[in-house]
Structures are given as C-alpha cells and as structure tokens.
C-alpha cells in the first residue's frame, strides 16, 4: 500500500486496517493500559492525516511506529509523574506486563518462545517484538528505536540464538517435526 499512499482516497483506511491493531499492541507495551494505548494510536493516525504523505512513501511503517513510540513514551513519562527522565532512563522504567492474551498459550512451542522473550532484557525484547510481532525491517527498527543497525542486528541474533536453544532444549515434538520437514 505504500505505493498508493496519498493517491488512493482510501489509503488511510487501509493504513488503519493494517496498523491499527499492531500499533495498539505496540503502544500497550509502553503504556500498560489499553485506553491510553488507543489514545496514543488515534493520535498517531490523526498525525498521519496531517503529515506530508508524499514524504512517507515506503516509510509508512517506520513513521507510524516512531510517532507511536514517542507519543507512548511521552504519555508514560507524563503519567509517571516523576521528574523528567531522559530517554535512556525512560526506557529503564519498569516495563509493563505483556499483552494479557499473549501470556496464555496452550502451545508448548509458544510457551517456550514467550518465556524466552519475557526473560530478554527490555531493549532486546523491544527489538525482538518489533521484528517478529510487528514485522519491521532492521532498518525500520533502527529508525524507530534509534539504535544503530548493528545493534539491532546483534539483538535479533542473540534473541534468535536464545529462542533456538530454548526450542532445542524444549521437548516440543512439533518443533522437531517442523525442523525435520524443513531440512
């Protein structure tokens, strides 16, 4: 849809369809509160309506996540009612609980992965989720988080290595079967 951005009168609708839920889930990671997350996402889209979309061609996802993230951090900071924190400290603020429904997983593989994710350091988790939950590219993640590309790459790799190890250690036969099928 990036190609049709701005030219299709309905592009905002498709942007909504595509990003609304992921963005809310994303904002929720910072806000820990659904209503606030919704507000943040609405703001993000209203902002999008005003943005010069021609400049966003091909960068829509990154733009949305960046705006959403900044907005969410801002709201969280405000809500924390503490002294102003600089960015780094803000990140260190205790991260809220993961998305409620994501915790309950009947599937053993999912449980192993979610455990691995939950134990990752905040930053790695953030990057990991942006990659696999939100499907951003390394470059987009780098733009959104402000981390260097190499750091993003490192985190993803470290996270994947960990996930692989967990899966290997885990007894889930489904995973083994999948490996077999793929090999």
């Amino acid at each position: 849809m990036n190609e049709t951005i701005g030219s299709d009168p309905d592009w905002i609708r498709s942007a909504l369809d595509r990003f609304e839920r992921p963005l809310i889930a994303y904002a929720y990671r910072f806000t820990g509160d659904l209503e606030t997350a919704r507000d943040v996402v609405q703001d993000t889209f209203l902002k999008l309506c005003q943005a010069d979309v021609t400049r966003l061609n091909g960068r829509l996802a990154g733009w949305l996540y960046t705006v959403c993230r900044n907005r969410a951090l801002d709201v969280r900071k405000k809500d924390a009612r503490t002294e102003p924190l600089h960015e780094g400290q803000a990140e260190a603020v205790e991260s809220p609980a993961p998305w409620p429904s994501a915790q309950a997983s009947a599937n053993e593989t999912n449980r192993l992965i979610l455990d691995a994710v939950a134990e990752m350091p905040d930053r790695r988790q953030d990057v990991f989720r942006l990659k696999f939950q939100d499907g951003l590219t390394y470059r987009e993640i780098s733009a959104v988080t402000g981390l260097p590309l190499s750091t993003v790459s490192y985190h993803i790799h470290a996270a994947m290595t960990e996930v692989c190890e967990r899966l290997r250690a885990g007894s889930d036969t489904a995973y083994g079967a999948q490996i077999q099928n793929n090999v």
Binding site: R21, F45, C49, A51, S153
Partner: protein, 1185 residues
C-alpha cells in the same frame, strides 16, 4: 560470544566490497549476519558473501535453517492478532480527518503551520463580529444551496491560535525527519495539555469568551477528558457545542458592549480554557474555548446596545451548528461560490485582531499581515493581495430582496451599532475646513476599478480624525474633487460619531460611512470599534463604504480599514446586489501632524522598524540577529507580547541552529572516525567504569637491580572482564587488561608440591617468541590441594549489594543462582549468613548451617534489588557477623558481591581498609565478586580484595559464577598459604636485563620480601600462579634509547664479579616466601634455575599456553599492535605516535597469538582454552586482522 564483523564491514567500505575477504573471515554461529541472512535483512553484497560462507559449511546451513524455523515460530508465538483496535469513534474520527484533510488544501495548510510556527502568530478571535455573522446568516437563510459548513465557519471565527512558542529540542542524533516531526508534534501537544490543565474553570459563572479553532494537533477525546470545562464524554459534545456556540453568539453582544464601555484588555484575560474536537467546513479543528468570569459592566449598557438576543438568533445558530456537526461525511460540494467564500474567510480573519470587546487587541502591522490565511492560503498576503481579493468578482450572497432577511437579526446586530441612513446635507461638524485643523486627502482605489479615489481626512479641532466628504467618481473612475454633494450625519455609538456621504456619479454611486470614535490606545496600538454594516445600504447601485481610522496615541492615522458594500442593481451584469468586502489601507499615514516629535510616535516607529528587521532576520533564519532585534524592541517596549513571542521563536531557532551545527560537527567527526586510522577505537573508560592505569615497566638492568620481587596474584577478574568486552563486540580498555590475571585464569598441569612446603615451583625457560634473541622464563607456582573433607568448617558471610542497579539479570539474579549452587557444594557443618546493603545494611540471613538448606535458599530467594548504596555500613555489619563465628581452624570469609561504587567517602574508605586489614589479620578474609557493566569500579574492588587477603573475581555469566564459587570452592575458601611473595635473583653472567610480564601493581621492593608485615597475595587449595619473565642475554642490546645513561661521576656498574671463578651455570634463583594461613612468621625456600637453551619448539604445552595468553594480553594493552585507536578519557584520540612500546613486543600480532594458542590447546577440561581462542578470533575480527 559475539563479534561485530557485520559492524566492521558496514563501517569499512573495503571490507564490504571485498566479498572474498568476508568469505575468508571466520563466519561462525555467533555472527549476527547469519540471522540477518535468514531473515532476508542483508544487503546484496553481504548476502552473497554470507551465502557463500553458509554454503561452504553444512553446520551453518543447519543453523540458518533452524533460525528460519524459529523465526516463523516466534512470529506465530508473539503475534497479537487479538489486539483490540481503536474504538469506533476513534476510527471514525481518523477517517474523517483524513477525508477532510486530503483535500488539495492540505499541503498548504501544513505550510501554514510552518509559517505560523515561525511567526508565532497568536491572535485572539473576535467572535462578535456582528456584521459578519449577520451576513453569514443572511446568506444561510437566503441561499438554500449554502453549505452549512461555510456557515459554521462564519460563526466560528477561525483563528490561528498558538499559545506557546515552545519548540521541541532537536534530537541531535536523529536523522529521520519523521522522528523529528513526531517529536515536534509531541512537544507542541504538551503545551496544549498544560494549558488545558492550568485553566480549570472555577465557577459556574464562567462564560465563554473566545473560541479558537485550530487544525488538529492534539488528541481530541483525551483533551476533552482532561479539561472538565469541556464535555466530559464525547457523546455530549454535540450538545455542548450547540450550547456553547449559541452562548458565544449571544454573549458576544454583551461582552462586546461592556468592553466597549469600560473593560480593558487585562480584564478579559481568559481564566480557563478547554479543548474540543469540531469539524468546520472542510477542516477538522480543535476548538479551544476560553472562559472568563462574566464581566460586570461598569456602566449599564444602553438598552439599544444591549438589546436582548432574539430567540431566532439562538435557533439559527443552534440549527447551523447541529447541521455542521451532523453533516454527512461527503466533502462540501464544490459550489461556484466556494472560492469566494474562502476568500471571504480570509478577509474575515482580518478581524481576528479584534478581541471580543470589539477592540483591536494586537499590535504591529506585520502581525496583521500574517493573519491572512485560509484553508488554501499560501501563507502570507500583502495588503495589495488583500486588495486584489477585495476586487474579485462578488457573487450573490443573498437575493436582492432584502425582505427575506430576518429583520430581528438585522436589528439586533446592526442596530446596536449603526444608526442613521445616509443623512443629507453637509456634515455639521465638518465645515469647509474652517473648523478643521487640517484636511488631507489621500487617494485609494476604493472600488477596485484601477482608478484612485480621493478620500479626504479631516482633523477636527478636538484632534480626532474623520474620513469625510464625498468622493465622486465618474464611470471611467476619474476622481472628482470632494463636493458638498455628500451628506453627513452623526450619531451611533456613545461617544462616537458617524458620518455619511453619498453621491451620484454617472454610473457608480458611493455611500460613505465612517467612524472615528472609540479609539483607545493600548500598548501603542489603536483599538477601534468594529466596523458596522450600514443600516441602510442605500438605493440600488450604491456602494457603501465604512471605514475605521486607526490612530495611535498622538492622533496620527495609522491605517484605514474599510468595508465596502455594494448594492448594485441586479441584471446589469453585476452579480452582487449586496456584498461586503473588507479591505485595509494599512500603510502608515502617521505624519506626526499633531505631535510630530512625540516620544510615543518615535517609539512606535522605532518599534515597528525593529520588529520588521527582526522579522526579516527571523524569516531568513538568522536567529541570533533576530534575537538582538526583538530584545531591543523589548527594551523599548517591555510589554510587547509579539516581540516576546518572536524572541522566543528566535531563541529556539538559534538553539536549533546550534544543535544543527553540533550535529554536523558530530557527523564530520564520525566521518573522520571511519577513516582507517580511526577505525578501531578503544574507549579507555567506558561508561563510568573506572580502571587503575597500569604502569608500563621497561626492561631492568640486572647490573643495577639483580632482584625482582612481586606478590602472587590469583585474581582472575580481568580475564572475565576482557571476555565481557570482546563478546560485546568491543575491544577492552587497555587498563582493564591485567596480563597476570589472564594467565592465571587457566588451569595448568603443574606438579603439585611434594615436600613440606605447600607450594611447588617449576621454572621453564625457552626462546622468546616475539623477540627471538630473548629468553622467556615461566615461573609456575602450584599450591597444595586440600581435600574438601579435610578442611575446617567454613564460616561465610555474603555481603550483597542490593541497590537498585543490581537488579539486572546479570547481577543479583545471577548471584542468587550461583549462591544456591555454592550452598549445594558446601558441607553440612559450614555456616552461611547474608548481609545486604543498600541505603542501610541489614542481616538477611543470620549464620545458618548449610544443613538447613531450606532456610538458606528461602533467604536467597527473597533478595531483591532496590534503593541506593551504602557500602560502608554493610561491610562493617558483615565483618561483625562473621567474627561472631570465628573458630580456630575454620575458614572465615566475607564474600562481597557488588556492581560498582561503594559510595563511601575518603574517611570511611580509610576506616574500611583498616577494618578489612585488621580482620584479615584475625583470619577473616575477603572475596570480592564484581558484577555488571558500565559502573564497574575495577580498581576499587581489586584494591579492597587485596587488603582483605582475598581474591577479586569478575562474574560475567553463570559459568564464571559457578567456576569461581563452586568449581574452586576449595581454592576460594581454603587458603593454604598467605602472603606469598616471589623474589628472583638474576645471574648477570646469563641475564643482562629482564622484564616481568604483568604483575605491574603487584611489584614489591626487594626489602619487602623479608618483611613479614608486608602484605602479599594468598594461594588457595590447588591454585596455581604463573609469572613470565622476558630475559635479555648479555650482548643482546635492549632497545636503543632504553635503559639508563652511563654514569658521569663514577664508573659504570660492571656486572658484579662472580662469586667463584668458575662460571655459575644458574640463570637465576627463585625464592618463595609464604606464611601458613594462620601463622605470622614466614617461611622461605629457594629454587635455582638453569637455562638449558631450549628453543621455543621444545617448550611444554603449558608454557606455550601461558605465552599465548600473555601475548594476547600484551597485544590488547597496546593499541598500536592492534592497529587500533585509543580514545582517552577526554574523548581525544591518542595517535599511534603517542605510544611508546617499552615492552618491545616487536611484531607480535593476534594471528601469532592464535597460532601459539592453537599449538598449545591440549589440556582443556572445562573448555576455557577453546573459549580463549574464540576471544582471540573476536579481537581479530574487531581489528580487521
């Protein structure tokens, strides 16, 4: 472990381009590019290179596949399809916004915002432009096709309101415009929030003063919720809107009038405000409502003025508003008049500079000019452009039949102001110049026909200004001198006077109205009452003009603002029977006629000049210049709000520029660092970590100092710390590399002591690898192994830093796990206690025998990190706990675990050192475990362990924790010899000079060797200590310029004569001095050593391993050998030329180190040697070697 080859290749173009080189580089499973490859994130060239590497290695193929599968599973596992979406309302709002904003005007609008931001336009709306409202209503009711949107727009006088000039800081490191924009957005929004929160309506008497509608910038519902004055729920928005708007319409008159009589600008300062989401015409706006306490008029307004609002008005407004709000989603139909309507909107905005009192509340001209904008405005419009607009064809707005206009509305709005119809006869107060102080005639093209008409300005004897007389123009537009043909009338508002004039030309009739009263001066600005529509538009074919002269305090005219109504006869090709336009002749007419030298006039003029200059600098982004100008304005005119605001803009702009320059500087620095020379930079002090500088020891001449003395060191912290850096893809700071600790990290197959002494000594001498003429001696000490069961009971007190910083996963949680592991290794009779410290020290577990494991583990589990650090108290408490249980023959230890600073002052520090030392004397030893990164106080911790007869270990992972606490439980806990010192006497016959590798901070004076009060290192059960000496045989020169000059006043020391005539084959003698763990007197034994001239090839595996590790450490300590750059504490780059290489390491390279290590990698029970190799490879990768 990890190494950033991806990083290196990204930063080094030559690497990136050279696929072969990448290929040849060791790609292993730790390479992040593998994952990137699996996820399709690599650039073409890297993808090819990695692809080749993967193809070549089946193991990697397997690994990449596995990552691919795991990535799919991970995507599935953490996918959150079930995340809720926006609420319907929110979604709808977004869609509406996009629809409305997607109109062609969007771009221009955002352009406007940029302009508005620069100029910091702040204006206050006059909602009470009765005349405008009137015309809007006329239009609405009379024209069935008129879109309700445009009506609503008329009702809500649109304003470009900017309350603050707060600008975001430019994030220096962010190149992404989207990010910048979003930050911008947030900051701007903050100002909305703060405003809304600051002004909570306090009284039911609050009355709407002004509504300012601005394009959406802030979250709508959220704001509504935060500002109780507004609707608390979106459901009731509509009601409130309606009510509020009616209120606006109705309240205006009274506000208007009361203000007209007495209120000053200060009295109408909004006391509270709220935000709402409204849709007006083609735009979504945030409505900002300003509330004031209902002003009580000082004088009861005249009944004429304060005519009660006609209910019809309320209905009309209500209806219009609900229509506007309930309007279907389709965009407003493109009507022929829309363009003109917009133009009119633009003109209406001229009135934005009149506040609700009907007074012009803002000052200088530039601001007025800036206000001319519309949905598709290009930003600024000059007065000329404005006049152009005024000339544009005027479409019909109402049917010619005036009867269709509700008369009630007409009267309530118009009658309030205008009184007479065109009077007949010459103006009574304007005789033919006799009573006037002066008459000046100015020419303007009033009717837009391209020909100027003369407008006479009279100055009445009382100094007030009057537009007077009649302008006569024929059809060709030729101006005709004023004549008595016009008529003047007075009356109207209290204290004011109206004049009127009419004339008949051949084709065009003009009707004049004017008003010169109501002028007040606030802040150098003329405040004039609203221009009123003519009550009687005159006969068909008449054009009416009403003007307001804006004066300054000395009575000079500043500008003439006029509205024109034409009442053309229909059917004559002129489409507009009654249309109104406004134009402004806003050149400064002030000539100082009344008071030519008045300070006020000069001040005004000067202010204006300065403002213009400043504005032009601001526009040209010369912010600091602009700052100067606005500062000057504020000196002249401290209350000038516009200048204040513009100054703020300029300041912000200047700051932005500064940041930009700073950023450019950074960029260029970065560029510079990418040059090969700066490619591999080592930070000397990462974060707030601190490392004691390690002095470089040159070769020592045996003739001068035949004795070399040092204390043993069984610490291993440095190796673990170096490993942390390398696995994180950084070269370690040189001072973090302590070579002896690296060597001693490894186990060697040294023979255990067989004799009485608890320590064995083994010396091996062979050819030096990096300087083949030199010899390299390895001195190996091994302590006796004490069987676990034989040792006395252990009495351990864990002193644990539980300050907030310890809660990272690699700190306290890691420690807790390793403590549990240790507990399982301990014997049942051992005792464990836990003291924690943060703000205060406390006992988390009083001494408990290990038999009661549940109690211990429960205590361990309940540890959590929080708060700040108070190390001193903790240490004292820990020592007091351990000393309660000191038993003869037992192992007594305080085990301190911390991640950094002890937060103790110098005094406390001395006291602590004393405590540690005294306790050590009574058999209580200290082990220090360092954790974490970024704040590690390496120097401090090592010094502390040193004083406490203990060891310092750095724990970077669970394996290391286990190794230190468990695998070495014997060594860590059971000391078999303390204060172990080594002294070596070199035989000058065989050794000319020597150098001890490592142990720099363990060096002792020769006399200290026999001084039992001199503290030294301890050796635990089975521990080994390895030291390397580089020896220079006689006849081999040391490096030129090294050593000392020859003596001038005495003969240069000759090699001491041999004790016997026969040559002594001994190269050196190794002397060891130690104390039993509980003894005070030392014992000594000696081992003579003979160099048998072994070549390197003949050396043992352990020997070579020690050489490899030492070599690695030495290379890491010498950036030049790494081809790396050293960045010192100040961030300055230390160039290679600044390095001396007194160790004369020659051409030792990482590759050599690797070769040596690979040739010695045999005895590796726990995989440590293999890990070492991977670290060497990592360093190679990092340095591109």
């Amino acid at each position: 472990m990890f190494f950033t080859s991806a990083n290196a290749s990204r930063w080094c173009p030559s690497l990136r381009k050279d696929a072969k080189r990448i290929h040849s580089m060791n790609v292993n499973k730790e390479d992040p590019r593998l994952t990137a490859f699996a996820l399709g994130e690599l650039d073409d060239d890297e993808r090819d290179a990695i692809g080749q590497a993967i193809e070549a290695d089946p193991e990697l193929q397997e690994f990449v596949k596995e990552i691919g599968v795991a990535a799919n599973l991970a995507g599935l596992a953490i996918r959150q399809d079930d995340a809720p979406g926006l609420s319907d309302d929110q979604r709808q709002a977004v869609l509406e916004a996009s629809e409305l904003l997607a109109k062609p005007g969007r771009g221009a609008q955002s352009r406007f915002w940029r302009v508005a931001r620069v100029a910091g336009v702040a204006a206050v709306v006059v909602v009470g432009l009765g005349a405008y409202s009137y015309w809007s209503i006329v239009k609405e009711s009379g024209s069935p096709d008129g879109g309700p949107g445009s009506l609503a727009r008329q009702i809500h006088q649109i304003d470009s309101l900017r309350l603050t000039t707060a600008e975001p800081e430019v994030a220096g490191s962010n190149e992404d415009p989207a990010t910048l924009e979003s930050q911008d957005y947030i900051t701007r929004e903050d100002s909305w929030y703060s405003t809304a929160q600051r002004h909570q309506p306090e009284s039911a008497k609050d009355e709407l003063l002004v509504q300012a509608d601005v394009p959406i910038e802030a979250p709508l519902e959220q704001d509504a919720q935060r500002a109780p004055a507004s609707t608390s729920a979106s459901a009731s928005t509509e009601d409130l809107e309606t009510e509020v708007d009616a209120n606006t319409a109705l309240g205006l008159t009274s506000l208007d009038d009361s203000a007209r009589s007495t209120e000053s600008a200060e009295q109408i300062t909004p006391r509270s405000s709220s935000l709402q989401n409204v849709q007006i015409g083609g735009e979504i706006r945030i409505r900002k409502n300003y509330y004031v306490e209902h002003p009580v008029p000082a004088q009861p307004p005249s009944s004429e003025v304060n005519a009660p609002a006609d209910p019809q008005i309320r209905d009309l407004y209500t209806q219009a508003e609900s229509e506007a709000l309930n309007r279907p989603q389709s965009p407003p139909a493109e009507q022929p008049e829309s363009k003109l309507a917009e133009a009119r909107t633009r003109l209406n905005i001229t009135a934005d500079f009149e506040n609700a009192n009907g007074v012009t509340a803002t000052a200088p001209e530039e601001q007025k000019t800036l206000a001319f904008f519309g949905p598709d405005a290009t930003g600024l419009q000059s007065v000329e452009q404005q006049q152009q607009l005024a000339r544009s064809p005027v479409p019909p707005l109402v049917p010619s039949d005036r009867e269709s206009v509700p008369s009630g509305i007409l009267s309530s709005v118009i009658n309030a102001a205008a009184n007479p119809g065109p009077p007949v006869g010459p103006p009574s107060e304007l005789p033919n110049g006799a009573d006037a102080k002066g008459i000046a005639s100015r020419s303007y093209d009033i009717d837009g026909d391209g020909v100027l008409e003369d407008i006479p300005f009279y100055t009445k004897p009382d100094g007030s200004q009057v537009i007077g007389s009649t302008v006569i123009s024929d059809a060709g537009g030729k101006p005709v001198a004023p004549s008595g043909g016009g008529g003047f009338g007075g009356g109207g508002l209290s204290g004011g006077g109206y004049g009127g004039g009419a004339f008949n030309g051949n084709a065009t009739k003009y009707y004049f109205q004017w008003k010169t009263d109501e002028s007040r001066v606030i802040d150098n600005t003329v405040l004039s009452s609203t221009i009123q529509a003519p009550a009687n538009p005159g006969p068909a074919g008449t054009t009416s003009i009403a003007g307001t002269i804006l004066n300054n305090s000395d009575g000079d005219e500043l500008s003439v603002r006029m509205d024109r109504w034409s009442n053309e006869q229909p059917g004559k090709g002129e489409p507009d029977p009654v249309a109104r336009e406004r134009f402004q002749l806003s050149e400064n007419l002030g000539d100082g006629r009344n008071n030519p030298s008045s300070g006020e006039s000069l001040r005004y003029t000067r202010t204006k000049e300065l403002m213009q200059e400043g504005q032009s600098y601001l526009d040209n982004q010369k912010y600091s210049k602009a700052q100067q100008y606005f500062e000057q304005v504020l000196l002249i005119d401290p209350g000038n709000k516009t200048a204040t605001r513009l100054l703020a803009d300029a300041t912000v702009g200047a700051y932005k520029m500064e940041l930009q320059e700073h950023w450019q500087q950074l960029e260029s620095d970065q560029q510079k660092i990418r040059e090969p020379r700066y490619l591999y930079a080592i930070r000397r002090t990462p974060g707030t970590e601190s490392y004691a500088p390690i002095p470089v020891k040159p070769f020592t001449q045996v003739a001068q100092e035949p004795l070399s003395t040092f204390s043993v060191d069984v610490d291993t912290a440095s190796y673990a710390n170096v490993r942390r850096f390398l696995t994180q893809g950084q070269l370690p700071p040189p001072d973090a590399v302590r070579v002896e600790e690296m060597i001693n990290y490894f186990d060697y197959e040294y023979a255990p002591p067989r004799g009485e002494d608890p320590i064995s000594v083994d010396v091996e001498i062979a050819q030096c690898v990096w300087e083949t003429q030199h010899r390299l001696a390895r001195i190996a000490l091994k302590a006796r192994e004490v069987p676990m069961d034989d040792r006395g009971p252990a009495n351990l007190v864990f002193l644990i830093d539980v300050s907030g910083s310890m809660k990272d996963a690699n700190k306290l949680p890691l420690l807790k796990e390793s403590m549990k592991a240790l507990t399982r290794k301990l014997l049942p009779q051992d005792r464990v206690a836990i003291v924690t410290y943060r703000d205060a020290a406390s006992i988390a577990l009083s001494p408990t025998t290990v038999g009661d494991r549940i109690t211990i583990e429960t205590a361990i589990n309940s540890l959590h990190a929080d708060g700040s650090t108070n190390g001193a108290g903790g240490l004292e408490l820990a020592y007091s706990v351990v000393s309660q249980n000191v038993i003869k023959g037992s192992i007594n230890r305080v085990i301190l675990a911390t991640d950094g600073d002890f937060n103790v002052g110098e005094t406390d520090n001395k006291r602590l050192v004393k405590l540690i030392r005294n306790s050590a004397a009574t058999g209580v030893f200290l082990t220090v475990l360092g954790f974490g990164e970024g704040n590690l106080k390496d120097d401090r911790l090592e010094a502390m362990a040193d004083k406490g007869n203990g060891a310092y270990h750095y724990i970077d992972n669970y394996n290391e924790a286990t190794r230190v606490l468990c695998a070495q439980v014997g060594a860590t806990l059971a000391t078999v010899a303390k204060d172990v010192k080594v002294q070596i006497e070199f035989n000058p016959q065989h050794v000319a000079a020597y150098r001890l590798i490592g142990y720099e901070n363990r060096a002792l004076a020769a006399a200290d060797f026999n001084n039992d009060r001199k503290d030294a290192g301890e050796m635990g059960s089975g521990e080994n200590v390895t030291a390397l000496y580089e020896l220079v045989p006689p006849g081999v020169s040391t490096a030129p310029g090294r050593g000392v000059d020859g003596l001038k006043y005495q003969s240069n020391p000759e090699p001491a004569p041999p004790l016997s005539r026969e040559s002594n084959p001994e190269t050196m003698t190794v002397k060891i001095r130690y104390k039993d763990p509980e003894g005070d007197a030392s014992r000594k034994f000696e081992v003579p050593v003979v160099d048998r001239g072994k070549g390197y090839d003949q050396s043992s595996r352990d020997y070579r391993w020690a050489v490899a590790v030492a070599g690695f450490g030495m290379v890491l300590r010498h950036p030049p050998l790494l081809n790396a750059t050293w960045i010192n504490e100040d961030g300055a780059i230390v160039t290679q030329a600044d390095f001396v290489n007194p160790e004369r390491l020659g051409s030792l390279t990482l590759a050599q180190v690797r070769d040596i290590a690979e040739g010695a990698n045999g005895y590796d029970p726990d995989g440590r040697r293999a890990e070492f190799l991977s670290l060497v490879v990592a360093a190679q990768t990092l340095t591109g070697q």
